[in-house]
Structures are given as C-alpha cells and as structure tokens.
Amino acid sequence: MEALLSNVDWAEIGIASWDTLVMVGMSLLFSVLIGLPIGVLLFLFGKRQLLEQPVAYAVLSFVVNVLRSVPFIILLIVMIPFTVMLIGTSLGVAGAIPPLVAGGAPFFARLVETSLREVDRGIIEATQAMGANVRQIIFGALLPEALPGIIAGITVTAITLVSYAAMSGVIGGGGLGDLAIRFGYQRFQTDVMVITVALLVIFVQLLQMAGDRLVLYFSRK
C-alpha cells in the first residue's frame, strides 16, 4: 500500500481539495447572482410572456448562446486578458474564478428560464387578477413556485463547475485538476491521478445528494 501511493503528498491533496472547494463555491455564488436575473429577464422577455420584448430577448439570448457554445477550455484562454484586468492575475484560485463564472452564469441563466417556464400560466394569471405588479408576480409567485427547479439548476451548475474547475488546471488554475495535470499527467504519477479523480467523484456525489434533498424539501407538489 505504501509503495502503491508513494507519490501522494496528502498535505498537497488537502490544499488542492480546499482550492477546488473555494473555486467552485465562489464561482457558483457569482454564477447564481449573475445568472438568476439574466434567467428571469430571458423568461420575461420571451414570447407571450409578461414583458414580451423580441429584440431584447434576441440580444440576451445570443450573448448567452455565444458564451455557452465556446468550449470551456477555449473560454479559459480567451478570458485571460480580461481576468488580469479584473483581478490582476490569471493564475491560481482567484484567476480561475472569472472564467468559471463566464461559463457558469449563462448556463445557469438558461436553467432558470426553463424552470420559470414550467410554472403554470394559470398561477401568473391568478396573481395578475389579484392586482399584482410585475415585481410582485416575480418575487411573490414565479420564483417561489419555480424554487425546486431553480435549486435543481444550482445543483447541475455546481457539478458543471466542478469539472470546469478541474479543467482550469490547464492554465495554472490550482485545485485538484491542477494537481492531476502537473503530477498525474506530466510526471506519470498514476496514483495521484487516481486519488484526485476519486475525490472529484466523491465531491460530485455529495453535491448531487445535497441538491436532491433540498429539491425534495422545497417541493410541495
């Protein structure tokens, strides 16, 4: 056993795990903060919706599609100058967060839009009939009704961000992915590779379980 995991530096693994946690946590936070309002706007501007705006919808939808269609590995590289401008470095944990948000926010926005569309139109109509304004319809009816769907969306986004965060190791992003590339891949230390992948699998499992429980807790249907 000793010989089998001879290359594994557990302190290093601990630091890398924490880094991944921070990258995913921070980028998830910003993805939700930015993606949620964009998703709500996408929904509202959509066809036959409350604030139908074909032009605004087309523009917003286009931007979201562009960000979502660029492969993340390319987005990581394209974002470098912007990241440097924003936080002074493109390296390490901090440097990975802007590209992660650029990948995560539009992804989450689409999931929000979809879950809002699932809300029964009758509920919107009933709320309108009570004399609610658009703000009240959004915060009083739409978001509470779509909450289970939005939480499921946060779970999916978090898991996507785990894999994106691992990819950011390629541009020196830190975390488990960085470890896997530097040691597991470049130095042929298979045991390090196995450990990092195993940790990522466990991390994703935990996220999915937590997400499913929250969805169940908030589902009243």
């Binding site: 509470p144 909450l147 908030f218 009243r220």
Partner: protein
C-alpha cells in the same frame, strides 16, 4: 353594475384579426348571480376576462359602477382588480404556499393591511369555507373541492364587490360541485356581491344564477331570467343546452310523440302552482283523459317548477285549456 357597451375582442393571428367576441352590449346588475353559458370556444372565457381586463377589449367600453375601466392606467387597474375576486377551473393556487398563506396572498400584495388584519381576516375566511383545520397544509394535500374553497376564500380576501368564476366547478365531481355552488349562493346572499359565472353546464346555471346569457360563436344569442331561458328556450343553442342538462334525447322524444294519440300539450308550472292538485280537477271538469309522456319537477335556484308533456283525448279541450291558463300554468300546444 357592470355595463358592456359595444365591447368587442379579436386576436391577431398571422396578421389577421380573429374575432373572439362580436360587439356585445349588456348589463349585469349589482348583487345578482349572472351566468354565461356556452360551449368551449364560444367566447365566454374571453367575456369574463374582459371584466377585470386580463384581456383588454379591442373596441367598446366597459363600465363598472359608472367608471370606464378601459380608461384606467396601470396603477388604477391594479387597485380595481383588488375589488374583483376570481376563481378558476384548475384553482391556480400557489403550490409553494400553505392554505393560510394562499388566502393571505392578495392582502399582502395590496400592501395596505397590517399583519394583524391579515391574520384575523384569514382566520375568518378559513372558518367561512370550513377549512380551519387545514390552514397549514399545502394545496397538494387537499381534495379538489377543498382547493376550490381555498380559491374562493382567497378571492374574497380583499372584500371584493365582484366575483368572477371561470368554470369553477368543471373539474369537480357532482357532490363537490353541489357544495361549491351552495357556498357561492351563500356568499352572494350574505355579502351581496355580484357573481359572474361561466360554465358549459346548464345545471350550474339552473342552481345558482338569477340571469343567464347564452353564447355561441363569440355572440350572446339569448339573455334573460334563468326561469324564462330555461323553461322557454328560444335559440337552438339554448335548446341544446337545456335538453342536454335534462338528459333528453330529442330524436327519441319525437318518436314517443309520434306514438301518442290526441292533442299534445306542454305545461309549465312555476312557484306555488307546482304543488297544486290541478290536473285531476281539470280532467274531471272537462272530461278530458290525459296521459303523461314526459315530465320533470325540480328547482330553478329557489323556485320550484314542473314541466309536463301530456297527450289529451276526448272531453272538452277548450274547457281544459282555459282551466289550466286560469291556474297560471303556461300551456304550449305541441301538436
């Protein structure tokens, strides 16, 4: 009082205007239960949504208590809508809120009620619709009838003067329909609020409505007191609805009439005359023999009525007819 003045509505579909409601003028009196009956697609759903402007009209004016609501700006419209409750076929309750929170919701939206006021009003309404024990349940834990009662309590929360019912009993079984209709009738009587009810079942109209408008293809084809429209339908669509609600097969009825001999009369009794032992005495006086071909004795809202189709043979028909008319029975000679 709700006044429709040449109100019309059409939808733009592929650049063409598809009419949903042809120019319509009518008046719904304060405190009455007004039924709108029609098949699906007849425009009744559009008509009821014009009253709270969920559907804005494309022409004409709608006056509610002498105010032209089609002139309202957004804020005035929202204030107006608080005075118009609405209940729906599929209840449209918020699944994420408890029964009590659903009922409190319109009051919270209004933003003019204190927390104590809301709590007290919710308790009062829960008692009104007999759901006090279910206050903290979620809609998914309730039966259809209970959900509709929550819907009614919610619609009444801001003390509206008008209640709109959009096929409110169409998703309910017959017994539940009964209890919901009784609740609506109680509310109408006790609170004096105007109820506008749309349905495709004439039976619903018969039980609770004072007046009815029959719609067909975006037009009101017949309108009047329920007893008149129900007992003496004029328009073919109305006749269809009435026969349908009485489970009468018209072809079969024609066949039965063919077989009968003598004169055929349709007698309509209303109110007290329904209970009088009239037929026997008329038969004795005029010497006419009669047999009953079909008949029904029931209630229109609170008024009893009877409608009998008889065939009469022998005796003095003139005397019999006069005696019946003298007893305030409506006599229609079928053959």
């Amino acid at each position: 009082m709700i006044v429709f003045d040449q109100v019309q509505k059409s939808y733009q579909v592929g650049g063409r205007a598809i009419p949903a409601l042809h120019p319509t003028s009518m008046t719904i009196e304060t405190g009455e239960v007004f039924g709108i009956v029609g098949h699906s697609g007849a425009g009744k759903s559009t008509l009821v949504r014009l009253i709270n402007l969920l559907e804005p009209p494309t022409g004409g004016r709608i006056l509610v208590d002498d105010e032209n609501i089609t002139d309202y700006d957004a804020a005035e419209l929202r204030a107006f809508r608080r005075k118009v409750g609405m209940i729906f076929q599929h209840f449209n309750l918020l699944s994420s809120k408890t029964v009590a929170d659903n009922i409190a919701f319109p009051m919270k939206l209004a933003g003019i009620y204190s927390r104590t006021e809301i709590r007290e009003r919710v308790e009062e309404l829960l008692a009104r619709v007999s759901l006090t024990d279910h206050a903290n349940k979620y809609p998914s834990q309730l039966s259809g009838g209970q959900k509709q009662r929550v819907g009614i309590a919610r619609a009444l929360a801001c003390r509206p003067t008008i209640l709109l019912c959009d096929e409110a009993t169409s998703a309910l079984d017959p017994q539940t329909t009964q209890s919901v209709l009784r609740l609506l009738a109680d509310i109408n009587r006790e609170l004096g609020l105007t109820i506008v009810l749309i349905t495709h079942e004439m039976d619903v109209v018969r039980r609770v409505c004072d007046r009815v408008a029959v719609m067909d293809a975006g037009e009101v084809v017949e309108m009047g007191a329920v007893s008149d429209v129900f007992l003496h339908p004029q328009h073919p669509t109305t006749r269809d609805f009435v026969f349908e609600s009485e489970n009468i097969d018209r072809d079969e009825m024609q066949e039965d009439l063919q077989k009968a001999s003598g004169r055929i009369l349709r007698l309509t009794f209303r109110g007290e005359s329904t209970y009088k032992p009239l037929l026997g005495s008329v038969a004795r006086e005029s010497g006419v023999d009669f047999s009953i071909l079909s008949g029904r004795i029931d209630h229109i809202k609170d008024t009893p009525y009877g409608q009998l189709t008889l065939s009469l043979v022998g005796g003095d028909l003139e005397v019999a007819m006069k005696a019946l008319e003298a007893a305030e029975v409506h006599v229609e000679v079928v053959r």
